[in-house]
């Protein structure tokens, strides 16, 4: 879902950068207040794993593929939507600058879509759904799915504002493909949460929640 430079006019791209920078500053404040030094190696490993799994495009129907984003997982494991912003900003920076995956001028939009939306929908979706159904892994699956789907919908709206996609077709096509790709996001989020919770229940910010 990495938007390339050509898809958004420069002026709009700058607006998205400004909005993204606000969230980056908030993510750094979260780190200063809530990310203890003992978490540093875990955050680094999580980011490396998210980068690697993003390179693994999984085929879906219709000659299309999709890959995990990982913001929901980072937010759930580290207990804050801003953890998703923190990790995805750095992932997107490396992907854009070193690998040409996602544009440079439009990186702010990609940070908003994947980091901010992924982190917030992933985190609040997870805590909200878990409160209702009680099962942490089912909640992680649904929240992971929703985080990707909502990112894709917002992306379609941005591209409609940009004039690149007509709104109706953009929503239909982006929504359809990402409703399926979301299953990859949800599935890997739930499995990774299970593995991390099994290995290190103490590092989860809400360990009691995962014992269910």
């Amino acid at each position: 879902m990495h938007i390339p430079d050509a898809f958004i006019p420069m002026g709009q791209a700058l607006v998205y950068w400004v909005i993204a920078l606000v969230f980056i500053v908030l993510a750094l404040r979260w780190a200063r207040h809530s990310m203890g030094e003992e978490k540093i190696p875990l955050v680094a490993v999580l980011a490396a794993g998210i980068f690697a799994i993003q390179a693994l495009n999984i085929p879906i129907p219709w000659g299309t593929s999709g890959h995990m984003v990982g913001a929901a997982l980072a937010a759930i494991v580290l207990g804050s939507p801003f953890a998703g912003v923190f990790v995805l900003t750095l992932v997107l920076l490396v992907q854009g600058i070193i690998f040409g995956d996602g544009g440079i001028t439009v990186m702010g939009a990609n940070i908003i879509n994947m980091g901010v939306i992924g982190g917030f929908v992933g985190y609040y979706g997870y805590t909200g759904i878990k409160g209702v159904i009680g099962n942490a892994y089912a909640a992680a699956f649904i929240a992971g799915w929703a985080s990707l789907f909502v990112s894709a919908i917002l992306c379609a709206v941005e591209l409609a504002i940009a004039g690149t996609f007509p709104l109706g077709l953009g929503l239909t096509f982006m929504g359809t493909y990402h409703a399926v790709i979301g299953l990859i996001e949800g599935g890997i989020t739930a499995v990774a949460l299970y593995l991390i919770a099994s290995a290190r229940p103490d590092i989860l910010e809400h360990p009691q929640a995962v014992s269910a």
Partner: protein, 116 residues
Amino acid sequence: METKQFVIIGVVIALVIAVAAPFLASGDPDGLESAFFSIYEAKPFMGSELDEDAAGTAEEQAIATTGNDFSYEAFMPDYSIPGMDKLGEVFAVVIGTLLMLILVFAVAKVSARPDN
């Protein structure tokens, strides 16, 4: 599990995925690219045949629409090393994974809450 052990296992899992990804990953367009090609009629919405010429034209049309012709030559474009094939892709993703590990460690170290 000790933190050291957890980190080592985590890094090994990430590197295994990084080495395997170039062999396993689908080369089909991702969801956004696929939607883009479908909207610009280079590919049917629910079909898989991509018209390469129409896809090229679509990209020019997008630049004409947005006026954003910013271009940038990445060091390892599309997770590959120019002049190398599969092995280059493996190196690219492995280098990226290790770079993430070091970069995020450094940024987290600087921005984390001091313990004392």
